[in-house]
Symmetry: C3
Amino acid sequence: MLVTLLTDFGDFYPGVMKGVILSLVPDAKIVDITHSIEPQNVFQGAFLLYHSYKFFGSAIHVAVVDPGVGGKRRAIVVETKHNYFVAPDNGLVYPSAKEDGIVRIFEIDSKISEIVGELSTTFHGRDIFAPATALLLKKDFRYFREIDEIKTLDIFEHSVAGNRVCGKVAFVDRFGNVVTNIPASAVMGAKGFILRGVEFPMVKCYEDVDIGKPLALIGSFGTLELSLREGNASEFLKIRKGEIELEVLR
Amino acid sequence: MLVTLLTDFGDFYPGVMKGVILSLVPDAKIVDITHSIEPQNVFQGAFLLYHSYKFFGSAIHVAVVDPGVGGKRRAIVVETKHNYFVAPDNGLVYPSAKEDGIVRIFEIDSKISEIVGELSTTFHGRDIFAPATALLLKKDFRYFREIDEIKTLDIFEHSVAGNRVCGKVAFVDRFGNVVTNIPASAVMGAKGFILRGVEFPMVKCYEDVDIGKPLALIGSFGTLELSLREGNASEFLKIRKGEIELEVLR
Amino acid sequence: MLVTLLTDFGDFYPGVMKGVILSLVPDAKIVDITHSIEPQNVFQGAFLLYHSYKFFGSAIHVAVVDPGVGGKRRAIVVETKHNYFVAPDNGLVYPSAKEDGIVRIFEIDSKISEIVGELSTTFHGRDIFAPATALLLKKDFRYFREIDEIKTLDIFEHSVAGNRVCGKVAFVDRFGNVVTNIPASAVMGAKGFILRGVEFPMVKCYEDVDIGKPLALIGSFGTLELSLREGNASEFLKIRKGEIELEVLR
């Protein structure tokens, strides 16, 4: 079974996790989804996992965005209809697991760190989640104890009132596209949006406006995105995260 | 057959492409060349693909630098003597394909997106190029229609006139080396170069000058590079792309 | 045998190295540890290799942080009890190799570049270390000549005097944690540290202080780290590398 990794670790730490997994299961196949989740941004991690896990068919998705590492939050494995999710219990994998259909939930005993021989308070990716992944690959549930509940998280929360629509910035990609969590259905029929006095006409694709001009479209997440054609909307708007409120032009 | 990826996608999106490919061909082997092409810089993508594809022997090279995504540009597969190239038809793979020897050219029918079940106007890496790659691995040409021509691109364009040599900045690497597209043959016998009043003596290797000092050499691309030894020439010169004109010292 | 890569190459160049290795050994399995070593920082490379190689069990570790590339430094292969290390002879792999137990040391003949057909003065990752790795995988020692010695490097150097402890910043991770090379044993019983007038209380885990507050702990490297909870200590302290001297509170 394929293993995917999604973390806010940046560089180096994911390599160590791969070392732990591969030393235990040499033929494991591991794919990076991203290691650039904004540090500690569980919402962003959950949003990007939700919009990627489904393209893998079936896999063990290891997701670590973990501001509570070393504290009291639990480490969990969630078995769903087609996948496993390995993560801290902070809502990170909830939207994905719920969509796929939760079958069983397990708490990972922190004693699993005896496999690696270390239990730091800062890097459970190495000490807990990586060995848990290796054991899942071996179908060894020795350190897993079935539990009833996991923390929930709503990544779809948004509101529409009059000519205002409110949501969250979910992701700023490398092009500076400001990806929101506002679904297409919430802005049906909109002709455009105004944010900070700038008009973003609703279009189908980038080429519908001149180079450098603002635009809005429903992007590959199925949600509203604000862009500058061949420019960087995030830098232009000085927006990287948080709530976003737009005036809707109809 | 090995699959390589070269894009300007940065993080996350390449992971989704891998998901699509691996869900269709679980034993596919995928290697990243780079996902840090400067956004929309087709020239840079073509230059770096040209200088990397040949080291893989034989592979399916998936290259996506795609300012025209969602518009009218075609999606293509180019079969060459030893490789396949999957890309938007904007010149990106032309220099590589031409060097390797073009055998057949195919247009990819956008209906191929029915495999993934989505056709966004912004992420054809996921909706078109990834499933096309999977089908190539399966030797399934159902969505490919042979065509006669692809867009060309000249990544070697440069000029020499008197004591001036003109070319383009092709790449600034992590060390700040300014890699040009000016071939060694155009600067044979040069003793050095002057740019913005700074002299870059022509040397064989970094250790030929003191730490921090400017130098020019023929680098691993076989082209002229400007560097500071253990420094960052790009930041020093405030150059990242575009035309470059040098005075040649003989 | 698994191959790992650790370099200061950033993007693109590692992809080319993989091309060379895979064209010679198509079923090679290659894992990135990191390509973000600070340019030319051999100490940092050695520190991070030391703290990662051991989690892979057994592998060929290819490490290239190589300020002397193209000059007189040797290229080496070190055979240890459980691993091989392929690197420039500048101390980079010494701490790891010594810990694992050095069995034999080889110099790589630069003629090995005839396999790739190129010998640049700037990219021995491609021209020398990648083909050497491929030959190791094939157990072909044709270009390797046994030698007696390699350059040493001390990554553990630190000092304690009165209420001062001195060491080095080894790594600043993506969270801005300032990872030092000062071992836990050197700061046993410390209640905290003062640096530039800021007090960093010694704690067990991040949650022991309020969000945004400074803290010190023994991190996943087994060494002293300075952090801000959910903040960036490196930016706060404007420290990224070099010596560090702390006042110890007892």
